[in-house]
Amino acid sequence: MSGVVAVIDYGMGNLHSVASALQHVGADKVLVTHDADEIRRADRVVFPGVGAIRDCMAEIRRLKCDELLAQALTEQHVPVLAICVGLQAMLTRSEENGGVDCLDMIPGEVRYFGNPLQDAAGRRLKVPHMGWNEVRQVTAHPLWQGIDDGARFYFVHSYYVHARERELVAGSVDYGVSIDAALARDNLFAVQFHPEKSADAGLQLLRNFIAWDGAA
């Protein structure tokens, strides 16, 4: 039983695809909301995000979604899944928009890919990093269950995460640089890719999330 899954809505972008993917894999009830009571009562929390970090951070703070997220993580102790800009917002600081202070819930930086970007063979790589790339499962985790090591997930981003505590890295992907594709800490799993757009591998990850008890 997944219970109620609250998808935190801070007004940036379309969250219906996250919600419908969760429903598709069998979530009992999905709420797209920034209502404090609804999130407080939820059995699981998803912290998504698309768009530019400065605007996202402004809305996250204005709607006090940072407090709700912190509460879900450390008081409710429910499983939390952060996606894309949701992950980036949890780091200390991002280089996007000339430099933006983020939530500092995970020590580390969000960096620009750099220009020009090249692979190991010296071939030019496009930015944004857009499309299906192979995620290496650095550590075993319940959310990787049933997903092949090296399975492809859909990415779309111009900035990438580098966590200071390297033991948090659960998944990694190479694109000219080594990107932290997934971070795991206690009841938090945070991914740079879009599971809701990653076909079977992504749906399996979401299925794992709604079955997860929040223990690593």
């Binding site: 379309n14 219906h16 993917a21 944004p128 499309g131 859909y154 981003h157 757009k197």
Partner: protein, 257 residues
């Protein structure tokens, strides 16, 4: 190993129905975009592009509804293009479940729309569509110009310079259609594909003219395209998406299998 080149089936949709004909074995109602999108999703397509060719503005609500239905059933990225003219149009498509919108003519009339929408919604969801046609210089040097109205109306704008400008304004991707090749089945116009992929840092989708699987391979290897878009070769069941991917992989192209 790294990022896969993408294969993108394209649906041309008029008033909620796929046109140009689609002939999948086993599909009862071949014109239903939701059913067709689901079939491509099952085949392992990397994205789906939905091109709304509905002429009248009043019937656009049908499009929004169709996009909503596709987004409910298909868990790969969905790009919606055709008739996107304003920030409001973009917002309604994104809210309906599109992951990206493709802006074409409106970018020519109002390039600021690209900047404004990239700032508001993020570059990742702003695709600029370029319809290019070859118009060589007097000395025979290849040059490509942007055309509107289905390739009938020249704009005088150089396609390569335009692509650069769109990337600077914040476009996250270019959808390049060669109007000389569209519908011909003679393959992509590789000259303009290569010129634009070399000119910009953002990914480029090649479109227009695919008639066989070698054309897809050429688009990537010779044209340098990050993704290849095709309609009829998939619609009529000539090739499936897995066949296309297997063929590309045999030619050394990294694909998601």
């Amino acid at each position: 190993m790294g990022l896969a080149r993408r294969i993108i089936p394209c649906l041309d949709v008029d008033r909620g129905r796929v046109v140009k004909g689609v002939n999948f074995v086993g599909i009862r109602d071949a014109g239903d975009p939701v059913e067709i999108a689901m079939r491509y999703n099952e085949q392992g397509a990397d994205e789906i592009t939905f091109l709304d060719i509905t002429a009248s503005h009043e019937e656009r609500d049908t499009t929004v509804h169709t996009v909503e239905q596709i987004a409910e059933h298909v868990f790969i990225p969905l790009t919606v293009g055709g008739g996107i003219r304003s920030v409001g149009d973009i917002r309604s498509m994104l809210n309906a479940g599109a992951d990206k919108v493709s802006i074409n003519t409106a970018a020519i009339h109002n390039p600021e729309l690209v900047r404004e929408s990239a700032q508001r919604f993020g570059s990742q969801c702003i695709v600029v569509a370029i319809d290019a046609k070859r118009v060589d210089d007097v000395d025979g040097q290849p040059r490509w110009e942007i055309f509107t109205h289905g390739g009938r109306k020249p704009t005088g704008i150089d396609a390569v310079q335009w692509a650069r400008k769109m990337a600077e304004l914040g476009a996250g991707e270019i959808l390049l259609t060669s109007m000389d090749r569209d519908g011909t089945k003679n393959g992509f116009e590789l000259g303009v594909t290569r010129a634009i992929t070399d000119a910009v840092e953002i990914p480029v989708i090649a479109s227009g003219g695919v008639g066989n699987l070698d054309h897809l391979v050429q688009g990537v290897i010779e044209g340098g395209a990050d993704a290849v878009l095709a309609a009829s070769i998939f619609h009529f069941g000539e090739y499936t998406v897995p066949q296309a991917k297997a063929y590309m992989a045999e030619h050394g192209i990294e694909v998601r299998l």
